[in-house]
């Protein structure tokens, strides 16, 4: 009698959709564990950034942005991003178009090349430019003769950032374009649309969410890049320090509020990136008909 009850209970608990005590416990354990992990690793640092930044009050927080060097760092970062992001967007669209729409020799090689910045340590990417354009580098003497500064100047920072961030747009678009196929473009052509109109009216709207996300990711990385830029910038205060470099300088000088105030800007950027991503996913699921 007892055996029968036990076995039927086990049978019931094994049925999908049935809420037994064990399944509830297991469920909440897993949810709790993952939430706890998330809180410890992601939310706590996030909170720490803002509490430290605002530790001496809102006034102190905003005062830290009034500092001339901090302002210069922010302006430099924005300027770099303003050049790098459009360039990499154009490059990314071209590369994704070539890879998704055409068959050609060396396609896999091109894919590998695009991934290269992911695989290479940012420090190495920076060092490469020093090696090429530094005073003792390959083109160093020529640049010196012509009075062109690359390393420890703006061009170096832009080059290093360009290199580190170029996969983002292409990587986001290639799978999307491959999945969406070429039919709509072909349809537009048979309907009499030119190449430019086809791109603007058909392709671009089709890939817009993927493109926006790629651009945002690219931008986040461009603003937040530390390693490569650190090597080529030379850390000249007010001239060649970007936001991440400036944060390090402030931190090393024990200016915690200042450091974390600038850090909070970069953190906000991350939060915006996440929001856009969720927006994009929501749009994508709506577009696919649900």
């Amino acid at each position: 009698m007892v055996g029968i009850t036990a076995s039927s209970a086990a049978e019931i608990s094994a049925r999908p959709g049935r809420r037994t005590l064990t399944s509830v416990v297991i469920r909440w354990t897993f949810i709790g564990l993952s939430l706890g992990f998330l809180a410890a690793v992601l939310l706590a640092p996030l909170a720490a950034v803002f509490t430290t930044a605002l530790g001496e009050g809102v006034a102190a927080y905003f005062r830290s942005f009034a500092d001339a060097d901090t302002g210069a760092a922010i302006r430099l970062t924005l300027f770099t991003a303003a050049i790098v992001v459009p360039l990499n967007t154009i490059f990314g669209i071209c590369a994704a178009w070539a890879i998704a729409k055409f068959e050609f020799r060396g396609k896999t090689f091109l894919m590998t090349l695009i991934d290269l910045p992911f695989a290479v340590s940012p420090i190495v990417s920076g060092l490469v430019y020093v090696l090429l354009f530094g005073a003792q580098g390959w083109f160093g003497s020529w640049l010196l003769e012509h009075n062109i500064e690359v390393i420890f100047a703006l061009p170096g920072i832009i080059l290093a950032t360009l290199f580190v961030t170029f996969p983002y747009v292409a990587r986001e678009l290639i799978p999307l374009m491959e999945q969406l196929g070429n039919d709509e473009e072909e349809a537009a052509m048979t309907l009499g649309a030119s190449g430019l109109i086809t791109f603007l009216r058909v392709t671009l709207p089709k890939i817009r969410w993927g493109l926006i996300y790629g651009v945002i990711l690219c931008n986040a990385r461009a603003m937040g890049e530390f390693g490569a830029v650190s090597v080529v910038s030379g850390h000249i205060r007010g001239l060649t320090t970007t936001m991440p470099l400036h944060i390090e300088i402030l931190y090393n000088e024990y200016a915690f509020v200042g450091a974390f105030a600038v850090a909070s800007l970069l953190t906000l950027l991350a939060v915006i990136t996440l929001i856009v991503k969720s927006l994009m996913e929501w749009q994508a699921s709506r577009a696919s008909g649900n």
């Binding site: 052509m189 048979t190 309907l191 009499g192 089709k206 696919s288």
Partner: protein, 586 residues
Amino acid sequence: MSITLDQVTKQYQGNPVVNDVSLAVAEGEFFVLLGPSGSGKSTLLRAIAGLTAADHGRITLFGRDVTQVSAREREVGFVFQNYALFRHMTVGENIEFALRVRRVKPAERARRRKELLDLIGLPGMDDRLPTQLSGGQQQRVAVARALAHKPKVLLLDEPFGALDAKIREELRRTIRSVQRELGITTILVTHDQEEAFALGDRLGVMNLGRLLETGRPTELYTRPATRFVATFLGAANLLLRREARSGSDLAPARAEGETDSPLRDRRDQEVVAMLRPEEAELAPDRDALLTAFLGYGHVEELQFTGALERLRIRMGTEGAARSSDSRSNEGETSAMPPVWIDVTRTQPEQRAFPLALGQRVAVGTRRIHVLPTPLSSFTACAESRDSAAILMGNPWLVDLTIRMQTRLSAQVEPLVADDGADPVVAPAGVAVVTAGPDCPARVRRLLARGVTPVLCLPEDAAPPSRVIVHFAGQVARRSTLAVTASLLRHVPAEAVFLGILPSDSSERTRTAGLRQLLDVRSEAQAGHGLDVRTELRLGERIEELLRELEAQPGQMLILGLPEPGSLPESFEALLTQSPGWPVLLA
């Protein structure tokens, strides 16, 4: 003619996907291109639209050569299998796209949009997004979109492929009525023969990149010229019919006067006959048949499928039929292989003569259609059983017989005939011999007994990708053309008529030679629907042929004999080369 294709060819990685297709579609005609997947029909359609560039040939739309014109300037409407609607635009914006690109005024656009939505039966759907529509509705919108700029030609690429049966039929009706109403020249591509019959004014059947036959649906169904069309358009039993001197052994003899040539009289004539399952009659006994007697058999399979009953009858050896799809390794004299005949019967026929599995029945034929193909079956002729087996194992030959759904058998006979009466019956159909030093002797012996065509096959012959056709005599004989046409329908290879004139020939001779070559081409096209390129060379014949054949591997030669049964000695050099190439003497 509103759409004219002239020798359109498209290759992918060296393989012809569309192979020398020529076609003319009349104004306002609904033409259906039918073929199995991979037959090149979609590629051809895309070439007409300009979405794929043709490698060779010419495409003309309403008298305007558009071969080099881009898709956007061809002014055709194209409907894709998976709709390809602009997913971020509403139905109305989709339909207006072509007008917007042409900067048509908004009022005119709106008027045209309403007109088209009414035409396809979706009025008031302007503001929906494509994802909010069912598959059938989406395809209707795609048709409306393709018609918006009033193209003169509508091209539909498997438009019903992704739809279920009921919606498919509904949409089929819509497309047919829209096409009638607008009178627009239309080409539709499909693999579904029922769809092709229901829609097409005229059909074209494609296989292996070639356009095999075109014609009205009833013509192609009842009188196909090729094995492929016979079996692809509905079910068909292909039978080999022997016509001996004493008469036919399958059905009442054809007029015996037909076998008039003394050479032909020395062997049985073999033809390929098609019997549709519904044209077979079953009766308990030979005497009860109302139609021509074919043979006795046993019911081996019996299926009830609603309106029709499907039967498979295993024919006994007492009957005279040979199925052309069974292949035997035995010589001619051995027992005939088993033959199956598919039969369908209507309800009244079933009631009149109910059947059970295993029952013995007499099979009669109401209507038999003889295919005009000279390549009926293949017989490997060799001096020993082993060499015959090697010949029969040639992958290309095996592949060819499977494609032709015909029989490949062996016959062992000595190289040189004992003088006087030849004891061995001459093989029917195509004789296959091994190329090499002894080949000319083998060929002579077969030709002397009236056997044509003869295929000389080197042991390591690879499937040819190029077929050279050359006429040894002054004129191109009709039978050579028939053999060429029949073979090329089963070989995915490009073909060329090669004319060779002596290098010291005068300008007039050259012009005449070229004209003769072009005459042959138009005759092949008129008589067999076969389009082949032409080339004229100057030089010594054999040298030029050898040079051409040695230039690249994977070629074969079809050599037109000057008259039945005679091969000029000079041409024997072409059969003995090593490594060699397949040569078909016809």
